[in-house]
């Protein structure tokens, strides 16, 4: 009863703990007010003028038949009354399909100005943000004279640089508000170049480039991580340059910023919580089993058949072939396979049955020899052990498969074990073993290979059964306890939570409740 209450309370409390540990997306650093008016001194205009750029209001597009005109308002202070200095009518040429521009040629060089745009629509007067102060500056003429109808490239703005979070250093993240000329599917916009320097005054060198468009739709920013030879602890300054129709426009210079290594990946707090629950459960049940309590483990047909398989080989006077996969000792499946090899080798030693273990990796050969030797020693048959029982063939996948197939066809073992990590050669091996009439027991944690083993072998250990085999065959209390802990702390809790969040996600898809959608998104796959 206590265990049931504990499980239920865990299932109810856990989602809240996970929610607290969950790190949501950060706040956006950029702003996109209505119109998103941006104003600057016209580059390359030696006479001095100011160009305004804004996003067209909804309804003002190339397919519209009519739209109210935009009034351009100017003032010399943000609080003073604004005077109308011009209009942009519906049929004026557009800067881009989504933006409009206006050139204020009446601005005098020297004073600062504030601008806003206003439009009388059917819904009422819609005004833009106030942009300023901006000064008209007589700029050196460009390569070609600037015409009134020429479209000006506006720079990216609000560039922000910071150390890339949750990494091992050597990376700096940039985010900025895209240039108004950065329109989706624009043929003239050519992306952004990234420039970096260790000093605010330069010299700046180009360290990367990226395409146009917003990369973080939720936060409305363009982001890029600069990892090119970034040294931790060194201060860097950046600016971003938009490229459009052969022209470039620079953003503000942002910095200084230093990259550094983080100790913890805060975005994986949920994984930490779940892993903690799993480990706690395993340790609890290991102690529970050590206290002498009996634990029920369901029958696994493949492992129950190991005795029978070894006995069959003994009766027929043929050998046992054990294949521990084709991966190296750094793969958990290989280690799981070798623990099973130890049990099988002990049985083979007791029955005096010949055992052959062809391997695909040298380190596996060394480990397997130790395991088999120890097993023969424990069975009291050290004289039956021979180093050549475990031998190396080749690292090559199909070369190994060819070698093992040849071994099977010539020696015709009565029993074949496939325990470890396999790839495409799994079916070749299993079918060859089937053709010689051997009893085959397979076990792998490669989901793509399981169907082949199931089709061709007599018994198959599926996924976690391979890792449970060591505990199952040894019947040791501590090992059985870890199995129980893995089932309770892992499967029971995870699948209960999965059920809860599936229900929530289903409700969220039908309702407008943002809260339920937010909760459901915590466990969505990103």
């Amino acid at each position: 009863m206590n265990r049931i209450l504990l499980s239920i309370s865990l299932i109810i409390i856990l989602p809240f703990v996970v929610w607290l540990a969950h790190k949501g997306p950060g706040e956006s650093s950029v702003s996109y007010p209505p119109y998103d008016l941006v104003v600057m001194s016209t580059p390359g205009d030696s006479a001095g003028s100011i160009t305004l750029n804004w996003f067209s209001l909804e309804g003002d597009d190339e397919t519209a038949q009519a739209f109210p005109e935009y009034k351009i308002l100017r003032s010399e202070a943000a609080e003073e009354p604004f005077d109308e200095i011009g209009v942009v009518s519906f049929d004026s040429p557009r800067a881009t399909p989504k933006t409009r521009q206006f050139r204020d040629t009446t601005a005098v060089i020297g004073p600062s100005y504030f601008y806003k745009v206003s439009c009388q629509t059917a819904e009422g007067i819609i005004e833009s943000n106030i942009y300023g102060p901006v000064q008209s500056v007589a700029q050196p003429p460009g390569e070609e004279p600037i015409e009134i109808k020429d479209i000006i490239l506006f720079p990216p703005t609000q560039l922000r640089v910071f150390d890339t979070p949750d990494d091992n250093g050597h990376s700096i993240t940039l985010e900025w508000k895209i240039s108004p000329n950065d329109i989706p599917k624009s043929l003239m916009f050519n992306g952004y170049d990234i420039f970096r320097s260790t000093s605010q005054d330069g010299p700046f060198e180009r360290v990367g480039e990226t395409t146009g468009g917003i990369s973080d739709q939720e936060r409305g920013v363009k982001t890029l991580a600069d990892g090119k030879e970034v040294r931790d602890g060194t201060s860097y300054y950046y600016y971003v340059e938009a490229k459009w129709n052969g022209k470039t426009a620079r953003s503000n210079i942002a910095g200084p910023v230093k990259s550094r290594q983080q100790w913890f990946h805060t975005g994986r707090g949920v994984s930490l919580v779940l892993l903690g629950i799993l480990i706690t459960s395993i340790l609890f049940y290991i102690n529970y089993a050590k206290a002498g309590k009996k634990l029920f483990i369901r029958k696994i047909a493949g492992l129950e058949a190991v005795d029978e398989a070894v006995g069959r080989a003994t009766e027929m006077g043929k050998e046992i072939l054990f294949i521990p996969g084709i991966q190296d000792m750094n793969n958990m499946q290989t280690i799981a396979g070798l623990t099973i090899l130890g049990r099988v080798a002990k049985m083979a030693a007791e029955y005096e049955t010949k055992l052959d273990v062809p391997v695909s990796r040298s380190l596996v050969m060394v480990a397997a020899r130790e395991i088999v030797k120890e097993a023969y020693l424990n069975a009291g048959r050290p004289d039956f052990y021979n180093d050549d029982m475990v031998y190396y063939l080749t690292d090559d996948q199909f070369g190994y498969a060819a070698g093992v197939d040849g071994h099977m066809m010539r020696r015709k073992p009565a029993t074949i074990f496939y325990q470890g990590a396999f790839f495409a050669e799994s079916l070749i091996l299993a079918e060859t073993g089937n053709s010689i009439g051997a009893i085959q027991i397979a076990g792998t944690a490669m989901p793509a290979q399981l169907p082949f083993f199931v089709a061709a072998c007599d018994y198959t250990l599926i996924g976690e059964e391979l890792f449970a085999a060591s505990a199952y065959l040894s019947k040791e209390a501590k090992l059985l306890g870890s199995l129980k802990g893995q089932d309770v702390g892992g499967k029971l809790v995870f699948f209960s939570m999965a059920l809860v969040f599936i229900i929530l996600a289903t409700i969220a898809s039908f309702s407008d409740s943002g809260l339920i959608a937010k909760i459901a998104r915590i466990f969505s796959v990103n």
Binding site: D167, N168, G169, Q261, L278, I279, I282, I286, N330, I335, L338, T339, G342, R343, V359, R361, S362, L363, M365, V366, A367, E370, I371, K373, E374, N378, D388, Y391, Y392, L393, D395, D396, F398, G399, A402, R410, A424, L427, I428, A430, E431, A445, P447, L450, A455, A456, I462, G463, E464, F467, S470, S474, K478, L479, S482, L483, Q486, G490, K491, F494
Partner: protein
Amino acid sequence: MGDLADTFSDWYSIISAFAIWLGALNLMKISIEKVSKKQKDWFFAIATIVSFLLIVIVGFFFSGGRQFLDLGTRFDWLYRYIYSPLSATMFALLAFFVASASYRAFRARNAQATVLLLAAFIVMVGRTPFGDWMSSMLFLPEGWRISNLTNVIMNYLNVAGQRAIMIGIALGIVSTSLRIILGIERSYLGGE
């Protein structure tokens, strides 16, 4: 920690590279013993020895002053015209083995096997133009075309099953790793 992990990974690669000599020498030792003692099937061991020595000697000594992996070297010729065709031949065996395994596995012995047979039929036929042609001949609505049924089976039923297996595998790996870290499981080191 990331740099430390990279360092350990590099050390593992270095040790593996040296360890390969253990395997190669063991292979030669066993093959030579087979030939010298004229054990059963010793002539296959001759093929192993000759192939091994051929590749090693050509790779080390007959590269014409270039890197042995460069295009045009003798080693490259051996790779392209002997190794690659042999590898492709082994891979091609899979096609025949899939057919023979399917023939044995897809039998309507019981309810589950029948469901397996139907699902396999729908997926195999649905992946070919013949499937949709057959659906159109039967005047099935758009959502019930065999190719759509194939997508449903592969994208929902198959993925659900695979994910369940992978969750179990992940839990098994965590549990086994914990047992190894705590020293409860020592049999892979040759202990009990």
